[in-house]
């Protein structure tokens, strides 16, 4: 979907924000949760989600824990201390971006 292109650059922020709110989450749960919150408007593809999770993990923003669930191992992601700080920064950046876009798209005529 074309509109998903707009979200591509924000995927890290979306993932970090979700983990900030929900605590520990696994990959499939993240895709479902995004779909649920946005009422199906936004779908994160598997091919985009996992590289983002692995990137954030390699950067030390996420940590991992493995638990046994239904005969299989499940990898849970959660924010590290650095991850929490980065989430605050990214959310502030995102809010400023949205405000600027709003001003650009809805210019107040004098």
């Amino acid at each position: 979907m074309q509109k998903n292109q707009l979200y591509k650059g924000s995927l890290s922020t979306i993932v970090l924000k979700l983990l900030n709110d929900k605590g520990k989450m696994y990959g499939y749960q993240i895709t479902r949760e995004v779909e649920k919150i946005t009422a199906g408007q936004l779908k994160i593809t598997e091919g985009a989600l996992y590289p983002t999770l692995h990137k954030l993990e390699a950067k030390g923003l996420l940590s991992v824990e493995i638990k046994k669930v239904n005969n299989r191992s499940r990898k849970y992601y959660f924010l590290t201390e650095n991850g929490k700080k980065e989430t605050v920064n990214l959310l502030n950046e995102m809010k400023a971006f949205i405000q600027n876009m709003d001003v650009l798209l809805n210019p107040k005529l004098a």
Binding site: G47, P51, E65, N70, R72
Partner: protein
């Protein structure tokens, strides 16, 4: 009670990952759980759906690249992770008070160069023995210390990529040898002025510290990360 993926089906999913060129357990675990969760979600709606069809539906969502893009990206991110760890180590090492040690080694080495006169008497034995040690380390010490090839019959990307990074250091130590050729071109048989001696000494000390970090610090950190993630496979 909703139908769940059985143990046998889970094993099949691991086999499915292998057939799609995902050989590392650390990545397989995640993909198997994702596929299994997606299959179970479909069974919540249609419990009569066969396992095979549900799997196909779930796999289709990974797009035309399947697992390959995820695998490549993870390898790339791991390389970056090792580099970040090495930089962290170097920054720590070159911070106060360890930096004093670096300069002390540099001065000792520079004095040696002055006393010996012919630089090759120091450079050749040093980098020669370093290369021999690196081969010994790569083929003997590293495999016995880190058992990267297989842990309890499973391969891990986190460890496997580390082995490749370590091999690169052998090439890295060849840089000073190439520098000799450069000096020869310039027809300089020895490094004559004090600034030159100090620069070369510092370069050798920094390279040695970097190699030490790559061989011992980075693997140790990776080992700790591995132990945190996979305690049942603790090395």
């Amino acid at each position: 009670m909703n139908r769940t993926v059985s143990k046998k089906e889970t094993q099949y999913l691991f086999e499915f990952c292998r057939r799609h060129y995902v050989y590392h357990y650390d990545l397989q675990v995640e993909l198997v759980d994702h596929l299994a969760s997606a299959i179970e979600k479909q069974w919540e709606i249609d419990s009569e759906l066969t396992f095979e069809n549900a799997l196909l539906n779930s796999f289709r969502k990974f797009g035309i690249h399947g697992f390959s893009k995820i695998k490549e990206q993870k390898q790339k991110e791991l390389r970056k992770k090792y580099n970040r760890l090495l930089w962290k180590y170097l920054l720590e090492f070159f911070g106060w008070p360890k930096i004093v040690m670096t300069f002390a080694f540099t001065i000792v080495l520079a004095t040696l160069f002055k006393i010996v006169g012919n630089d090759l008497w120091i450079l050749v034995p040093y980098f020669g023995s370093m290369t021999i040690f690196l081969f010994y380390y790569y083929y003997r010490i590293f495999p016995s210390k880190f058992k990267v090839s297989k842990v309890k019959g499973k391969k891990f990307m986190l460890l496997d990529r580390l082995k490749d990074t370590q091999f690169m250091i052998i090439f890295f130590t060849q840089i000073p040898f190439q520098a000799f050729h450069f000096w020869n071109i310039l027809k300089l048989s020895s490094i004559q002025n004090t600034a030159g001696i100090l620069t070369v000494s510092l370069l050798i000390v920094v390279i040695t510290i970097g190699i030490y970090g790559e061989l011992f610090y980075v693997p140790q950190k990776i080992k700790e990360h591995f132990r945190e993630q996979f305690p049942e496979f603790a090395l």
